[in-house]
Symmetry: C2
Subunit: 457 residues, 2 copies
């Protein structure tokens, strides 16, 4: 098709927007392994999960059978405030590269949370409200998830308690203030507000905290305060379900113009964005209706797919959550200070882990400075200043588009641009000043962390 | 019309986007007073302006006759990357307020510059490129204009030298890094790179700079370096012309659904956003084809419309630029540390000044804490975190919508939401912590500044 036919940005009309989420698990031949109880090692039941998570979300977590789950009207109304997100044809980038490839990206950054996280935050807040809860608790590292959740809670008039890793609380005051603008209470973790927080502060006075510790505090508050539950922004099956809105919109926009992608590329931390983006495409691939290359991109500093083990592991460093079977570097793994905060998780979504193990998708690990070089190249022609996380996908999309220059192939590349980098300028500054590191763990270091894996078959 | 008929967001199709800017001056009965030469006090000619500004832009500056000026295809292609901007129906806000009013806002923040500034930056960069220039210079305070210009120059492969007020350079490193990402060179002003900078540093060692000083440095570099010109992001007639894209899109979107606004509200600093938003509506009003209330909102701390004088004044504190007849507080006016950096200009666009003097529009000055209260109220229901500048318009739109609750009138309110507040979280933090001030200048203080007005009839 010509430039005149396919617009720069494809927006769906309101009546073309998805009315149901797509539950890829229903169509998977090999289902993802169930979460198991940390004490009994038995699959987690609805009863096991309900004290921690909202009931409807527990059901979604365990649902491996229904391919479509209706999106409640209230959530669809909220989606209308910032969705559909545009599917952008990167005409400027194609021209600048001189590639015969056709490049599209699904841009999820045009909302105040700055990322796709809002898609699941609003769903989780909705079900909490439906259950008559007073509020929810969560942890946040860099602050994207916390921001998204505070926006969602504000909309449904729910209390929102965010435990923010202390070092981020102090070094990233802007994200904290965005959360406060939406009425969330933000507590630096570890804190004196919980038993576990007090214990950690006693044992490690002056600690700047960790995500594992913040999770433990958020879970303690949720399970010990009447009317509260805990919510999480990635890894879980329910989160991938909600994020399928990304892939469904992408596919609807492509179908509208008869475009069939050759490859779909996304960054992968816990897997929420990638799992959502690829869901409907992977469904077709599993059914044999189409054959797409599907590529996960992760940081070389935290390579769970490319160098991890597929095993049961603790989902959190505090070891209070259920165990999940996933590609993991070991829950004791301490990632290097890589600036893509959202990709520093030691494990990976059980759904994506199973698909990867089944050979249905590929994974590539890329070093940080190359990611920032790609980010800058992209920003200068497409305008959008990408988040470091999203830029992992950009890096591989650019590489693939450049290959097409050599081969002359007119491949159609779709990638997920999960968010903007406005709150990541410290990382960009390091890149500009040439002081960004490219730390990659050695095999010996990884072996040491694998020893922390629990002995479960 | 019902909620089902008018979507949450009205996007124009590519073929519905404006192909020409609207030059309101052509339809004004009383034309804006011409710029005059600081030495001779004679109207500035093309020859006077050309050493400072690009030739085509000088022609646009002086053009009071052509109602439409075609938008070059290259600029229209760039516009397609981030335009059309959505006209949003604020259903959520209306419901939360319980108002019978119908509220719409034109949102200009979905681009990396975070504001409408990009609309003129890309036009000015284009004409510089067309003229065969090597680069452009400019000044920036908070950094929005500098960011927009660096994006535009990057797209056309032009060099971009930004003089950034030193205090902002040091206190707002994030904006600086965004500009560097787009390849601009950013120099803290005053600097050793110019004669005027050296002189100021000698006279005032340790000064943290001012916008006036940064303008002087940028103009010196532009006029003394072959292949360079100076560009400016507000006040000028040419800037209002480019910004008419905002109003043209707004009107096209409203017309598409048969919506006729009762009032149009915008914030006013130098006037670039307001002038652009209201242009086609004001054109109709002048011709007697429609009657809209048009309201400019300014900070009570910098009240050029509501408490200023309509007189010839220096456009810059350095007194190197031509003089303009405008509502002004005097070029010596030092605004309070109000956080809406973009609204701290002592004067006002000559076009808007003439329209205000002719009684064709109203002006309201609002105090800062009320503006932030409105910003937070808006953010919590509409999702978008607004810039402090934009929030001035929100404040008055909310007040008008609340009046409709009392009167029962179903007024249609349109306001301009010029940008996002992601880089303004220090101001939000002060608001949250209750330490934001509401300084308003006394009559005595204003009288003192009026004495700096040049004695020109």
């Amino acid at each position: 098709m010509s430039k005149d036919t396919i617009p720069y940005k494809i927006y769906l009309e309101e009546n073309e927007m998805p009315k149901a989420w797509y539950n890829l698990r229903a169509d998977m031949i090999n289902k993802p392994a169930p979460l198991i109880h940390p004490g009994t090692h038995q699959p987690m039941t609805l009863e096991d999960l309900s004290p921690v998570f909202c009931e409807e979300l527990c059901k979604q977590e365990l649902n491996n059978t229904d391919p479509f789950i209706e999106i409640p009207q209230e959530i669809r109304d909220f989606y209308k405030m910032y969705r559909p997100s545009p599917l952008v044809r990167a005409y400027c980038l194609e021209e600048k590269l001189g590639t015969p490839a056709k490049i599209y990206y699904k841009f999820e950054g045009n909302n105040t949370s700055g990322s796709h996280k809002l898609n699941s935050a609003i769903a989780q807040a909705y079900y909490a409200k439906q259950q008559g809860l007073k509020g929810v608790t969560t942890e946040t590292g860099a602050g994207q998830w916390g921001t998204a959740l505070s926006m969602a809670c504000s909309y449904f008039d729910l209390d929102c308690k965010v435990y923010m890793v202390k070092v981020s609380y102090e070094q990233k005051p802007f994200r904290r203030e965005v959360m406060r603008t939406y009425g969330a209470s933000v507590t630096p973790s570890p804190s004196e507000t919980t038993q576990i927080g007090k214990k950690i502060l006693e044992e490690h006075p002056g600690t700047t905290g960790s995500l594992g510790c913040a999770i433990s505090e958020a879970v303690e508050v949720a399970t010990s305060t009447p009317g509260y539950r805990y919510v999480l922004g990635s890894v879980l099956n329910q989160v991938l379900l909600h994020q399928s809105i990304i892939g469904l919109e992408t596919k609807a926009a492509l179908d509208k113009y008869g475009i069939v992608p050759d490859m779909i590329i996304g960054c992968a931390g816990g897997g929420s964005n990638l799992g959502g983006l690829i869901a409907p495409f992977m469904g077709e691939k599993i059914k044999g209706n189409a054959d797409y290359r599907i590529i996960a991109v992760e940081p070389a500093s935290c390579p769970s797919f490319t160098r991890g083990r597929y095993a049961y592991d603790f989902a959190d460093t505090g070891m209070v959550c259920p165990l999940a079977k996933m590609y993991t570097l070991g829950s004791g793994f301490i990632p290097a200070p890589n600036h893509a905060g959202g990709l520093r998780y030691h494990g990976m979504s059980p759904v994506l882990s199973q698909l990867y193990d089944d050979g249905l998708m590929e994974a590539i690990a890329v070093p940080q400075t190359e990611v920032f070089a790609a980010a800058e190249e992209f920003a200068r022609v497409e305008g959008i200043l990408p988040a470091p996380e999203s830029s992992h996908a950009i890096k591989v999309a650019l590489d693939e588009a450049k290959k097409c220059i050599e081969t002359g192939e007119e491949k159609t590349i779709v990638f997920g641009l999960t968010g903007t980098g406005y709150f990541d300028m410290v990382a960009y500054e390091k890149y500009h000043d040439g002081i960004m590191d490219d730390y990659v763990p050695t095999d010996e270091e990884l072996e040491k962390y694998f020893e922390t894996l629990p002995p479960i078959e």
